[in-house]
Amino acid sequence: MTDKPEEARAFGFETRQLHAGQRPDPNTGARAVPVFQTTSYVFEDPESAAAYFNLQEYGNTYSRIMNPTVAVFEERVANLEGGSGAVAFSSGIAAQAGALFTLLEPGDHVVSSSALYGGTVNQFKHLFRKMNVELTWIDPDDPDAWRGVVRPNTKAFFAETIGNPAGNVLDIEAVAAIAHEHELPLIVDNTFATPYLCRPIEWGADIVIHSATKFIGGHGTSIGGVVVEAGTFNWSNGRFPVVADPSPAYHGLQFHETFGEYGYLMKLRAETLRDLGGTLAPLNAFLFLQGLETLSLRMDRHVENARAVAAFLESHELASNVTYPGLPGSPYRTLVEKYLPRGAGAVFSFDCAGGRVGGQDLISGVTLWSHLANVGDAKSLIIHPGSTTHRQLGDDELRAAGIAPGTVRLSVGTESVEDLIWDLEQGFAHVAARAAEKVTTA
């Protein structure tokens, strides 16, 4: 050991988003993170190989389970979120499935916020049923609703920091306290906030999930996800034999006893990722690392632009129900001040006048906002659920899903904000012109 001892300095977020998880490569001195585009790793000798597979030594075996480029990404996100570690996946949805598979067994029950990303709703409704896992949806805005539905077989609470697309802000500290009263972990999807705007672990969350595809990557290039664990949850409390008891899938290893605060993540990697696959590709990890290097800079700009766009929409006669939680009149204002003091992200929705046709006309009228199904790109994005993701639903069914026929979702990018507002004005002018056309031709 030749290293100079390192002091326990509390480095700032901007320093850590550039450095955490990586040291210059020992072989080459490469300053950038090398892309280790390899499936497998040559063992030093048979004894080392055995030690790696037995998890007695930290060693690379096979890139489905671990890869040095992916590991830098994992450690960096874990560091920024304040967790004990992280495991990356090939998508946010895969990360979520992995996080839950690791702690659930058939016959278990999960309590979830009903204000979630549609892809998560699908996963919970359909995949859980196949796994024989029961689900109770609750209104996330009422902390007491969580308490009332806990059963003996409940294994987790699940919610998003900022709900998609209606912008509900979770009272993380209150919900975590209720989860912990019942010795349950709180799992939070922090995709919309990013660790720059909110760190749920600091407020009591036990597991944090990201779709890295969004603001972490930040440039719309790669699909990926990551699970971070706080490392403080007591998996040996009697409710989680699947984590604490000797594992038949790993020759009787007791992950929590053997690895302590790293036990859940070790099991997530050595069993769940091993068996489900869904591994993040090294090149995508590299692109996410490029994204993380500028996370704080981009998020400040996203927030600044989102505030301006939301304020513009709020004052526009053809827009209503602007759900940006960062607006002064938002019902979530107190929660935003507590959990999101640097800003409430950059994704929200509003209702365009003219219902389904109005929403469609707005989309047709803009030329700078990109019409597509993603969020969290540096480029501004727009989508009209009524004519795309939810087009099969009638107006009543749409409303039941919390979406009005004219609802438009925005992901505000980092362009010159006057150009974004100019383009929305073009869109609204098109809505008005088409409405007038209909009146004249009627």
């Binding site: 320093t15 007695q56 671990m66 992280a86 990356a88 990697r269």
Partner: protein, 160 residues
């Protein structure tokens, strides 16, 4: 609450990792699935001399096991404890008696009285930390598994 942070100082941990050559592991199990066996195996692999202290075994990890610290026939730098917290005061007294430099208590082995006895006897005390994890954090390859080592440095790493 025990004030644990004073027993978890990173500079002290790194100094102990540097200075130590011989480690007596009190409560080292012969069962290869137990945490203590994982730690003992790992430390031996990384060049430390590991001495098992376990009255119920004669040999663990290929090394002679001794019933107590007093029975260990060579000087010990570090006493690493895998026992119930209640056993710590007695172990700390033994560690002082054999003149070990430091006492390292694993996750959950928290006992204020034991720590005080060791400190009064001039020993460095680390408590509620895993020796394997801290070694892997500062010297080893913990970062290869996506764990948060908390290390931030632009100094080129040594070969691992």
């Amino acid at each position: 609450m025990t004030d644990l942070e004073r027993y978890q100082d990173p500079l002290t941990i790194q100094r102990v990792l540097h200075a130590t050559k011989t480690i007596a592991i009190v409560g080292l199990s012969n069962n290869e699935l137990r945490a203590s066996y994982f730690v003992g195996y790992y430390l031996k692999r990384h060049g430390y001399r590991v001495i098992p202290v376990n009255p119920r075994a004669t040999e663990i990890l290929g090394e002679t096991s001794y019933p107590s610290l007093q029975d260990v026939p060579v000087p010990v730098d570090l006493v690493n404890v895998f026992r119930a917290p209640d056993a710590l005061p007695g172990i700390a007294r033994d560690a002082v008696e054999i003149n070990a430099d430091a006492l390292w208590c694993q996750f959950g082995v928290i006992n204020e009285e034991g720590a005080r006895i060791a400190e009064d006897g001039g020993q460095t005390v680390i408590m509620d930390r895993c020796l394997k994890v801290e070694h892997a954090r500062y010297v080893g390859r913990m970062h290869w598994l996506g764990f948060n080592t908390q290390r931030i440095t632009s100094v080129r790493a040594g070969l691992q």
